[in-house]
Assembly symmetry: C2
Homo-oligomer: 415 residues x 2
C-alpha cells in the first residue's frame, strides 16, 4: 500500500439515474486531471461495464470545463447507464481489456449492485496479478446503501417528492377528496417518507404513509383512510411502490391475483410484477378505496421517473456532496491508502449540518441494502420526527407553504 | 358607466388549481385595498360560489402583507375551489346574498366555466336591479381560453412539463427504451406541446407528440414509435390525455372497449372515462407498444396533478402576469369603464417579450375553448417552431441540458 501506481483511470455509471449523478462524474474528472503524473488518461466507459466490454471508451480530459459544469447539472448518467452483472467469460475479457488499455484505476458510480461489480473487478484483477484500485462511488435515490449516513441522489429526489406533496396537499385541500401518491422505493421507504418534509401540522398531508418496512394490510389501510377523511374531509396518502404483505409479496401482485386483473405487460424482465413506469399500483389502491368506502373523489398519481431526473429542483447540499464523493474516490485511490473501497458519508457534529467522506470496504456495501430504522417510523402509517431531523438538511430545507388566516367576515355594514 | 359604485367586493376561485392562482388573489387584495373609499370590504368566498351560497366569507383585508406574499407563492386555490354551475334557485339566493352583504363587485378566478359563472351573476344582478360589476380573472394550465394570448397558470405548468421532459429524456438516453408520458389537456394540446420546449435537436425527446387537435390513429402511432426506435434506439413520447379517434371518443375508452378492460372506478361523475388522477391511459399505450412491437423496455408515466401544483418551479413571467390580472380586474371594475368583462393578455411588440392586459366581454370567453392553431402543429405527431417562439417566454425560458462530447479515447499508451 501507499505505493505509486501509474496508469489510466476509467469510470462508469450504473443503475437508475439521479439528478446529481453527473456531479460525481465531474468530481472524478476534476480530481483525476489534477494527478496527471499518476493518472495517465482520464477515461469513461459508455453504459457501464457493457461499454468497457465493447471498448466504448471516451476521453473525459478532452471535455471542456464549461461542458463538464453543464453536464454536472444535467440529470441521468451522461456516460449512459446499464443494469448488468458480468458473466464469467465477460470477467476474463474485462481483465484482458484493463491490461490492454493499461487501466489501473476503476471507478463505478451506482448503488449496491455497482459496489458488487467493483468488488468483482477488484478480486478478478487481484487474482490475475494486474494491480488495480477499484472504488465504488455511491449514488441512489433509494438511500438504501449500508454504512453511509445517506446516499448522493437521495437529497434531490427527497426534495422533489417533498415539494410534490406540498403542492398536491394544497391541491387536495382546494378540491377535497382522497388522493394516493405512489413514490419509488421497492425495498426501503426513505423516499416516500420524504413526502412528509414539507408538513407544518397534523392537518397537512400526507396524512398516511405506507412503507415497505411495515406489512401492508389493506383492511387497516381502508380504515385509516376512512378515519382521516371523516376527520379532515380529505386524505392524502404516500405509498412506497414496494408495499407488500406478510409473505413479502408485492401488494399489486396480491391485488391482481385476488381481483383477476390482467396487469398485461406489467412484468419486468425477471418476471416480477413491474412497479415503476406504470400507474397500476396507484390505480389499484384507488379502485380499492372507491369500491370499499363511500368516498366520491378518489385519485392517484405515480411520481414515476420525474422524481429521479427532474433538472429544476436539485438540492444544493446533495449536488455538493455528489461532487465531493467523485473527488474523494480519486483522492483515496491515488493515495494508495486503500486498494479498494466505497466512499461513504458521515455527519460532522455541530449546530449546523455538516458532513465528510470516508472509505468503507466494498463488502460492507455490496449486495445488501438498508431499510429505515424503527426510530424513523411511527406506527404502521407514519414517520417519526427523528426522520425529519435526519432528512431535511439533505433535501436542502423545504420552505413552508402559507395559508390564509381566513378571518370570518363581519356582518355587512350597509353604506 | 364611469359612475362611482360604492360597496363590498368579493372574489372566488374555481376549477382546477394552478401554481400561480394565488398570485391573482394577492393582486386583487393589493389593488382592492388601495380603493378603500370605493371598495368598503375586501372579501373572499370559500370554495367559489358554493361558499357564497353558504355565506362562508372571509375578510381578506385582515390578512397581513407577509401572509399574502406567502400565499401568493403557494400553489392551488387558497380560498378553496369548486366545480359548480349554480341552479336557478341558487341564482336567486346569490342575488339575495349580494344585496344583504352589500356586495357590488364580483370577481371570479378560473377558466371558461368560471367566465360563464361571472356572466350568469352579471345578468342575474342586472335583471334584479342590484347594480354590480362582474369580472372574470383568467387562470388555467390548459391555456384554452379565447381572446387572450395566453392564460396565467399555463407558463408555470409548461415550465414544469418542459423540465420533466428534459430530465426524462436524459433518463431515457441513459437507459434506452420506449417511454410514454401523459400530460394534462382534455381538449387542447398546449401543455403536452410544452414538453418540447427544452429540446435542442432532433435527437432530443420528446420525439413524438400526440395532441387532441389531431385524430389519434393507433396504427400510425405504433409505426411512428417503431421508426424512431429503429433510428435512435429509443423513443420518448408526449401524449395529451385527451387523444381521441375520428368520432371524438377518447382513445382510452376505445381501447378499453376493444380489449375488454374493466377500467373499474375510472369514470368521472358525468360517466365519462376518467383521464386525470389515474395512470390508465399511459399503461394502455405502453401495453399496446409491448403487444405490437418487439421492444423490450416500455414504460409510461402520467404527470398527474404535479404539473398543476408543483411549488418549486414556477415561471417568473407567469407569476408576474397572474398577479397583474388580479390587479387589472379591480382597476377595470373600479374605473367603471366596464360593467363586466374578462381580463385578457396581449403581447406588446418589441425585441423582448412584453405583455399588457385588456378587458374583453364575458361572452367572448365563456363556455367555448380554444385549441392550438394549425401553424403550431407539424404533421400528425409534432410541434412547429412557431409554437416554441410563442411558449418559451411564457415558461420563463428553459436552460438547455448539456451532454458530454464523448471524444473516443485514443489507443492505449503503455507506460
Amino acid at each position: 500500500m501507499g505505493n505509486l501506481l501509474r496508469g489510466a483511470a476509467v469510470i462508469g455509471q450504473s443503475g437508475g439515474p439521479t439528478a446529481v449523478i453527473n456531479q460525481s462524474l465531474a468530481g472524478y474528472v476534476e480530481e483525476a486531471t489534477r494527478h496527471s503524473g499518476i493518472i495517465t488518461r482520464v477515461l469513461g466507459m459508455l453504459h457501464g461495464v457493457q461499454g468497457m466490454l465493447e471498448e466504448k471508451l471516451v476521453d473525459l480530459a478532452a471535455e471542456s470545463r464549461d461542458t463538464l459544469e453543464g453536464v454536472a447539472r444535467t440529470p441521468a448518467a451522461a456516460l449512459g447507464s446499464v443494469r448488468k452483472k458480468p458473466s464469467a467469460a465477460e470477467c476474463h475479457r474485462l481483465v484482458e481489456l484493463f491490461r490492454r488499455h493499461d487501466i489501473r484505476y476503476f471507478f463505478y458510480i451506482g448503488g449496491n449492485d455497482s459496489a458488487e461489480t467493483a468488488q468483482l473487478v477488484e478480486s478478478l484483477t487481484r487474482e490475475s496479478g494486474h494491480e488495480m484500485r477499484c472504488f465504488h462511488v455511491p449514488k441512489t435515490i433509494d438511500n438504501d446503501l449500508r454504512v453511509t449516513d445517506h446516499c448522493p441522489g437521495y437529497g434531490s429526489a427527497a426534495r422533489f417528492v417533498a415539494h410534490a406533496f406540498q403542492g398536491d396537499d394544497r391541491d387536495n385541500r382546494s378540491l377535497p377528496g382522497v388522493k394516493i401518491n405512489v413514490v419509488m422505493g421497492r425495498h426501503a421507504g426513505w423516499l416516500a417518507a420524504a413526502g412528509t418534509l414539507g408538513r407544518r401540522s397534523e392537518e397537512d398531508g400526507p396524512h398516511l404513509v405506507y412503507l415497505p418496512e411495515r406489512v401492508f394490510e389493506p383492511a387497516a389501510f381502508l380504515a385509516d383512510v376512512a378515519e382521516v377523511n371523516r376527520r379532515l374531509g380529505r386524505c392524502l396518502v404516500a405509498v412506497s411502490e414496494g408495499i407488500h404483505d406478510a409473505a413479502d409479496t408485492p401488494f399489486l401482485q396480491v391485488y391482481a391475483e385476488r381481483t383477476g386483473s390482467a396487469l398485461a405487460g406489467q412484468k419486468d424482465s425477471h418476471g416480477n410484477v413491474q412497479l415503476s413506469g406504470t400507474g397500476a399500483l396507484g390505480d389499484a389502491l384507488a379502485s380499492l378505496v372507491t369500491a370499499e368506502l363511500a368516498i366520491r373523489r378518489v385519485r392517484s398519481d405515480t411520481f414515476g421517473y420525474l422524481q429521479r431526473s427532474f433538472p429544476a429542483d436539485v438540492s444544493p447540499v446533495d449536488a455538493r456532496e455528489a461532487r465531493e464523493v467523485g473527488r474523494a474516490a480519486v483522492r483515496a485511490a491515488v493515495s494508495g491508502e486503500h486498494a479498494s473501497g466505497s466512499i461513504a458519508i458521515r455527519r460532522v457534529a455541530g449546530p449546523a449540518y455538516g458532513a465528510e467522506t470516508f472509505v468503507t470496504p466494498l463488502d460492507t456495501v455490496a449486495r445488501v441494502t438498508r431499510s429505515m430504522p424503527d426510530e424513523y417510523l411511527a406506527g404502521a402509517n407514519g414517520v417519526a420526527p427523528a426522520f425529519r431531523d435526519y432528512a431535511l438538511p439533505l433535501a436542502g430545507g423545504i420552505e413552508p407553504m402559507v395559508d390564509l388566516q381566513r378571518v370570518p367576515a363581519t356582518a355587512a355594514v350597509k353604506a
